[in-house]
Symmetry: C2
Subunit: 245 residues, 2 copies
DNA sequence: ATCTTTCCCACCTAGGTGTGAACC
DNA sequence: ATGGTTCACACCTAGGTGGGAAAG
């Protein structure tokens, strides 16, 4: 699979083009990952992301800042999640161990940021969030979008503006999210446009149906607002909660 | 102002083009209003819509079904709300009375459905909802979009994909929502494209900062799920609620 | 005085969390 | 037995209601 290893964090892959494009427009995009410190804390422990039948959001969230875009050109921003290696894992003796060869991957799909296309100026004004993308292990999911390999025509697929989309992963397998930036006026031209791909190693994770490493669980509880109900200290000072002593 | 009076409900205005367009594509769109019976109940009493500083959604919601579109052509769907007449109103002796000449209107803005552009096939598959549009009386609102008159270039404005948009109205004035359908591949071509406009008289309303007609209030409470807390019968059977005897 | 607007509130809907027991 | 998956649930965030007091 790999090909994204060795790509410097925040720098486009070697496979992407030089800043001078055929249309004569110049840009030199830089992309940074939001909450990098938090991502690092998870990464050091071995990030886990829960996948459920109905789809689960990622935490931390995939959020980026872009700079160096041509303000007047239009860009399409995308995210996908690809297998990080060919292994299947198990959590044994408080450690992730290789447990064999990977199961077959479902065809991966590109998640187009729902604000696409927008001008460089618009993208640079705000944080670009892909937090609405959900992860599932449900093979019979219908929220399809077009394939990562772009072999099928994008017009045959759709994604509603609410940005609801689901990607199918294998539990106990390792994955690597990738951020893509394309200068293109039109989604129809996407398959023929040059992609710039950015990989942040610290966003790598293992998909699970239930958390394996309790330190990961605790880090999620400590930082995800929706899990505040499971915190021991501070916020929920009104009662001792239901946690059994 | 008028020009939409006399337009048959669900039929395009006389000002719109014949089904045969210059590109040779044929279509004969029909548009119907969702929850027509509910809208009629409000209309018979004199519909009121609350406007607030931060913006308030409409209830009933603006939802439509489209048919007769060309499945493969792309369409942009829009909504706007225009003054229904030149008067200012007051509610006196349980009746709406004319109270003078209208105050000046703020420039009106087009609300582009966030799924736009999409194919006729896609639009016809589902109900088209504009429920995220909010009404305000706050002059210093910044959620601008391009003018209804399309005199300004749409590229100067933006609307994020979450569909959050606000329109500024005058309290105690009467308004008429309008639905627009445009066959166009590109939002940039919108100002030069032919609009088909559909007006449903039963969606007319008077903007208020507080409900005037208590029958309208009760109809809202009875049908808006978010107002369930104010219902007397049925749903909230666990207690008698806080309503003073 | 009368009418209109503003603000905070309790009460909802809608949906994102990990839990722990049940299931396979 | 062991390990992975599913499900209902309590507990949150986020935000849409009209009420009622206060303000303009």
């Amino acid at each position: 699979h790999p090909g994204f290893f060795g790509a410097g964090m925040g720098d486009p892959m070697a496979s992407s083009m030089s800043p001078m494009e055929e249309d004569g427009v110049q840009d030199d995009p830089k992309v940074t990952l939001e909450s990098k410190e938090l991502w690092m804390q998870f990464h050091q422990l071995g990030t886990e992301m829960v996948i459920t039948k109905s789809g689960r959001q990622m935490f931390p969230q995939m959020k980026f800042r872009a700079s160096g875009l041509d303000p007047k050109s239009k860009y399409i921003l995308l995210l996908d999640i690809v297998a990080a290696d060919d292994y299947r894992y198990k959590f044994h003796n408080s450690r992730w161990m290789i447990a064999g060869k990977a199961d077959p991957e479902m065809p991966k799909r590109m998640y187009i940021h729902p604000d696409s296309p927008a001008t460089g100026e618009q993208w640079m004004q705000k944080v670009v969030s892909f937090h609405k993308l959900k992860l599932t292990n449900n093979i019979s999911d219908k929220h399809g979008f077009f394939s990562s390999n772009l072999s099928s025509h994008p017009a045959n697929h759709s994604q509603n503006s609410q940005g609801v989309s689901i990607t199918i992963l294998n539990s106990m397998h390792k994955y690597q999210p990738r951020f893509h930036l394309v200068r293109a006026n039109d989604i129809l031209k996407l398959p023929y446009s040059t992609f710039r791909t950015y990989v942040f190693k610290e966003t790598e994770f293992i998909a699970v149906t239930a958390y394996q490493n309790e330190k990961i669980t605790q880090l999620k509880i400590d930082h995800n607002p929706f899990a505040k109900g499971f915190r021991d200290t501070g916020a929920g000072s009104k009662s001792q909660k239901k946690r059994p002593g």
